[in-house]
């Protein structure tokens, strides 16, 4: 990965923890998703200011037995997928204001 990636929760979604899962409704077509524990960690940590690799290192590698390079690759794929559904915003710059115009999917 040559450039840092920043991720932020989309301001257009609805979300709530229900038991062990995060329930997320995308603003795009009112589509409902559930996030598994790993995806939930990533989504909750997506503050727009912390680079994705740092989130993976601090929040995922510390909790799951996984190689950092594998975890980062999986996290990027997951972030891309969430972005396609309008759940997450991705940018190569810090996302200071989640409602500011940013790239929703790459």
């Amino acid at each position: 990965m040559t450039k840092k990636l920043y991720v932020a929760r989309s301001p257009r979604i609805a979300a709530r923890m229900l038991g062990e899962e995060m329930l997320v409704m995308s603003g795009q077509g009112s589509t409902l998703f559930t996030l598994n524990p790993t995806a939930t960690i990533l989504w909750q940590a997506a503050d727009g200011a912390t680079p994705l690799d740092e989130i993976v290192e601090r929040r995922i590698c510390s909790e799951f037995e996984v190689k950092p390079e594998d975890a980062i690759r999986d996290a990027e794929a997951l972030a891309e997928d969430l972005a396609k559904h309008g759940i997450l915003l991705i940018s190569e710059e810090p996302i200071a204001r989640p409602d500011a115009p940013v790239q929703e999917s790459r």
Partner: protein
């Protein structure tokens, strides 16, 4: 409801989570609809700060779907402040409004705030009918304009068509209008009593022949023979089923903080101004009573042929005097749909029928005595 949403509702039920809440922000309204069940005077609405506090409690309790309704929600000057706060708490927000105060700017703001859907009441495609129901000239035109503004922003709009005697002929026209303006359509043929118990507006309910015609209308119900088929006999599963989601995964809070199982179920369970939301949800004796009820516990409905398919509303039953009793409005719908009277309607008919006259023949031995009267025995006469 999607399969996943159904699954989440069932999980919420297992976890005891209040998944869906309707919060009425005000009972004030800029329309004066003939069938409205509310008192529109302000008797001390919750303040902005009280509502924000409540929203925070609801989010912590796990509420996901939040329906903001009224009265007319745009009558509150702080409406957008409340909505913005609610969206920051990541609720899935549904709005119910007459929309006459929505212009381009409001529609754009609703879009920016990520509202899930907006349900707008339309009674007829004909202004003379719609405006006569709302008692506001020009209200149909303004509501339709608002729908266009909202659709232009890509927002999901649902046209809510409440049917009553005044507009019973117009539902085809309203659905066509909804299609024309690219809105979804939903229909409700039930007028409910006022929340203070006044039942006078029930006279506006559609009559049996109108309901029968609606339920045979394949443009609305699909296969009419299937829709109107006699119900299957209730089995063990249906006897153990819950009457509806009220008090189980859903509840209602009034503008004054009163906590009810549902907007149509005015059984006070507490007040969020005096108790935390979650304490009422978990500990209210009234809610515990509501949650304990199964079909097999219902006095009349457990014996009724319609038990497994009836849309019985426990709130309407409560307003008739017994939350374990029947809801006559739903009995009438089941009858109009299938032609089979419910146990409740049969009992009412039996009660209302004139007492049997006992006809007594004149016995030759006692000629001159003519007897007629009511009762089951006249054997002693003339003895």
């Amino acid at each position: 409801m999607s399969v996943l949403m159904q699954e989440m509702s069932e999980r919420a039920l297992r976890l005891g989570v209040p998944f869906s809440v309707q919060l009425d922000l005000t009972y004030r309204c800029n329309e004066q609809c003939v069938h409205c069940y509310l008192d529109h005077d302000d008797h001390g609405e919750m303040t902005t700060a009280e509502i924000k506090h409540l929203l925070k409690e609801m989010a912590e309790a796990g509420v996901f779907i939040l329906t903001l309704s009224g009265g007319e929600i745009f009558m509150r000057k702080d409406f957008f402040e409340i909505l913005e706060y609610a969206r920051a708490l990541t609720f899935c927000i549904k709005l119910k409004t007459n929309a006459v105060l929505i212009r381009e700017a409001q529609a754009a703001r609703l879009r920016d705030l990520g509202v899930e859907s907006i349900q707008i009441s339309i009674y007829s495609h004909r202004p003379e009918v719609h405006d006569a129901i709302t008692k506001v000239p020009g209200s149909l035109r303004r509501s339709i304009n608002a729908i266009r503004f909202l659709r232009a922003q890509g927002l999901k709009v649902v046209v809510g068509n409440v049917l009553m005697t005044q507009n019973m002929q117009d539902y085809h026209g309203v659905r066509a209008l909804a299609e024309e303006i690219d809105a979804r359509y939903t229909l409700d043929p039930t007028i409910t009593p006022k929340m203070d118990g006044d039942r006078s507006i029930l006279d506006l309910n559609a009559g049996e022949s109108d309901l029968r015609r609606l339920f045979r209308d394949e443009a609305f119900v699909g296969n009419a023979d299937e829709f109107c088929a006699p119900p299957p006999a209730p089995d063990e599963n249906s006897m153990a089923s819950l009457p509806c989601s009220a008090g189980h995964t859903a509840c209602y809070v009034s503008p004054y903080g009163e906590f009810y199982p549902c907007v149509q179920f005015p059984l006070s369970c507490g007040n969020v101004r005096q108790q935390p939301f979650i304490d009422i949800w978990r500990n209210s004796e009234q809610l515990k009573e509501v949650r304990a009820i199964r079909l097999r516990d219902l006095s009349s409905c457990s014996q009724c042929a319609h038990g497994s398919t009836c849309t019985r509303c426990p709130g309407l039953a409560f307003m008739e005097g017994n939350m374990r009793g029947p809801s006559t409005a739903d009995c009438e719908k089941s009858f109009a749909r299938t032609g089979i009277p419910s146990a409740n309607l049969l009992a009412k008919k039996e009660k209302a029928s004139p007492p049997r006259l006992v006809q007594i023949q004149i016995v030759p031995a006692i000629t001159g005595i003519r007897l007629s009267g009511m009762g089951s025995s006249a054997s002693a006469v003339g003895a």
